[in-house]
Amino acid sequence: MILVLSQSISAQVSPALADISGLIEAGQYQQALLQLDNTLSSDKRHPLYMFHRARALEGAGQMDKAIAQYKALIKLQPTLPELYNNLALIYIQQGQMQKAQTLLNQAMMIHPGYSRVYKNLVAINAAQARDAYAKALQMPTASQAKGLEVADTLSFVEEPIPASQAEPIVAAVTKPHIKPGMVYQANGDHADKRTERVEKESSVSKVEVSAAQAILLNWAKAWSTQNVDQYIRFYSDDYSPAGMSRTVWAAQRKKRIRQPKWIHVGLRNFDVTENGPARLRIRLEQEYKADNYRDVTRKEFILQKIDNEWRIIKERGLGYIGR
């Protein structure tokens, strides 16, 4: 019986159901639900009917009903990974990561090549890892899982991808969204001073602010070109993070900076405030891309003017930005 139904899924899509799919795509969930209620009773047994109903319920915010509908459908059609996938995404929205993970794992067992499930698993894994790291290192914010993919149809149209080829894995989690013009590139040619914010009575002039920003852009450039010696020079001579000697620190930075095959660091949305005499606090967004990883984080720098030169005396992450 189930086998017959499975085979019939993609073969017989009634026109009415296709319409409903269109309504869901358009975000007209109430309309879709009304139409679903008015569907021929013969169609109501169709898995696609139940699938659309679940999606419409979810869209309309009736999560409990949507969950119940997916569960009923999974009982009827236990071999369709899309169902596990979509139900998992509802659980993710509700913060029930364990349930979501279990469902996605089940989906992977049913159809190991279904790339959407794999991507989603990666996404929630990475989001959870990120959350764990943020907690471990006491960063204020952690991101939600991003780039999750809902299945909108019940046919296997996806090209299966082997898990090992799905790289770079972590990049799927945040797709940095960069508006042209508001981006500080590491080469510093087109600095946008839109977000500068230094008090008028400040002892630090606008020129100084641009100079300080230029320093950070050059810092990012040194990082991007993986020029460790130059990179280190942006930090004050006595820069030695607590608990670490400068030598140890420098060695560590060297290792980290040289590790990736390539790096590109972009800075944007500078927020500059004075932080004492000849001292600036600059908060910004850092877009980090490398062959193996990319992310966007908020960072804070304290720059101090030492011997007529702006040097970094403090640098800390304020958290991941989910985009």
Partner: protein, 440 residues
């Protein structure tokens, strides 16, 4: 000095665990790759040995389900052994139970990321490569904590051994604390019977002074080494947040420290900022810092004014026979002193005192003069010693052995009767134990 009761194979894995780089090895390298890294490692991953470690950890958790370290180790062992799902479930439960255990969160992140084969050391994942330095420092600190915790599990195997530092708790001290700075470890020992070695009740991870070495002067950020006593209890509400659940001040500088010109004070055994389960291993200004939950657990065992706390760089572990021998040697010396005192032979009595003997008010000369004078006024003396507690003093290898004795002394003579609690420092000068200090 230490010999292990662990089977050889187990020691090998234990040593491997103590090298941070190899901690997560099994999760990306197969066993054969590992074997080429380090001879004998393959053998060490034998199920049977791991099973023993798990049994030990389960025992710890059975004794105290709040033993978060045991839970962390379990997760790490599962992970090291390639059981990712078990590791994840263990660590997830742990982070729910102990949401402020930052090291557990870090390991959780690693276990999650290991799915993609990207973790080679604790926190060594691409997810952290773009972080600011402040986060890198925290990462370093958490690694240091993981390392010293694992090291203590791997290297310390006591079996039936007892610390030389605790040569007897007398009849009134129920528990004694021993802190081993090298392993950032605090041991709680309980009295069994008066003449038998004390029994290990529980051990904890602690943080100590930012700088290694023995404390000498105020502000040197070192944790003092010596025989101390807890003097009082300061509750949470009377303290700044950084002390957490409360504090037990310690009598640093003690009589010997003061004699040696050591300065500083405020060496406490205290808790941790709320929101932080534990602190990095070398993090205090000289205090011994416990997680709050452990301090709370320990609180009932400590009696201010009574509970000894012996702080040493490294403990000396003795088998029972050697412990008895060392104890008997000092008990004999004390008994000889008592008899010679009772005999009213001032020369014999004074022969027990060291040349550099001191008290709060006396040097050896003034003490001898007074004692000789007193002896002449006596027609009889009865002296009884009881409740004798003996603590070996932490000394460097080339220095003579020292012991702090604390006991009840009941004195009766023709013209004076009095009972006091005495504290005595004894030093082994050549073959003889001599009294360096005596006080109430």
């Amino acid at each position: 000095m230490k010999s292990s009761i662990w089977p050889k194979g187990l020691v090998v894995i234990a040593l491997v665990l103590s090298v941070p780089v190899a901690i997560y090895a099994a999760n990306f390298y197969q066993a054969e790759t590992l074997a080429s890294h380090q001879t004998g490692l393959n053998k060490s991953l034998q199920q049977q040995n791991l099973q023993k470690l798990f049994t030990q950890l389960d025992k710890r958790l059975k004794q105290d389900k709040q033993d978060h370290e045991a839970s962390l180790f379990k997760a790490m062992l599962y992970f090291n052994n390639g059981s990712r799902q078990k590791a994840l479930s263990e660590i997830q439960q742990l982070t729910e139970r102990a949401p402020d255990f930052h090291l557990a969160h870090l390991v959780k992140g690693d276990i999650l990321m290991s799915r993609y084969g990207q973790v080679s050391d604790i926190g060594e994942t691409p997810l952290l490569q773009s972080m600011g330095d402040e986060q890198h420092i925290k990462l370093q600190q958490l690694r240091a904590e993981a390392e010293v915790r694992l090291k203590s599990m791997a290297e310390i195997e006591l079996g039936n051994k007892v610390p030389m530092q605790l040569l007897g708790l007398g009849s009134s001290i129920n528990t004694a604390i021993l802190v081993e700075k090298k392993y950032n470890r605090l041991y709680v020992y309980g009295r069994t019977s008066e003449h038998e070695p004390p029994r290990l009740i529980r051990d904890y991870y602690v943080s100590t002074g930012k700088k290694r070495g023995n404390k000498h002067i105020r502000g040197d950020l070192r944790t003092p080494e010596g025989v101390y006593f807890i003097t009082s209890w300061i509750p949470d509400e009377k303290l700044p947040d950084k002390y957490g659940a409360g504090a037990f001040p310690v009598n640093y500088p003690n009589e010997l420290d003061r004699k040696q010109g050591k300065t500083g004070d405020g060496i406490w055994l205290h808790g941790t900022y709320r929101g932080f389960y534990s602190r990095p291993p070398l993090d205090s200004e000289g205090c011994v810092v416990l997680p709050n939950i452990d301090l709370e657990g320990l609180k009932n065992e400590i009696i201010p004014g009574k509970t000894p706390i012996i702080i040493t760089e490294q403990a000396n572990w003795l088998d029972r026979a050697e412990w008895q021998r060392q104890r008997n040697e000092i008990m004999t010396a004390l008994e000889q002193w008592r008899q010679d005192w009772e005999s009213m032979d001032a020369d014999k009595y004074l022969s027990h005192y060291a040349d550099d003997f001191w008290t709060q008010t006396h040097t050896l000369d003034s003490w001898s003069a007074r004692k000789r004078r007193l002896a002449r006024s006596k027609t009889y003396q009865h002296i009884k010693l009881s409740d004798i507690a003996l603590f070996s003093y932490p000394v460097k290898a080339q220095q003579p052995a020292m012991v702090v004795a604390r006991f009840r002394q009941e004195y009766e003579s023709n013209n004076y009767t009095g009972d006091i609690n005495k504290r005595m420092y004894l030093r082994k000068d050549g073959q003889h134990w001599r009294i360096m200090y005596e006080g109430g």
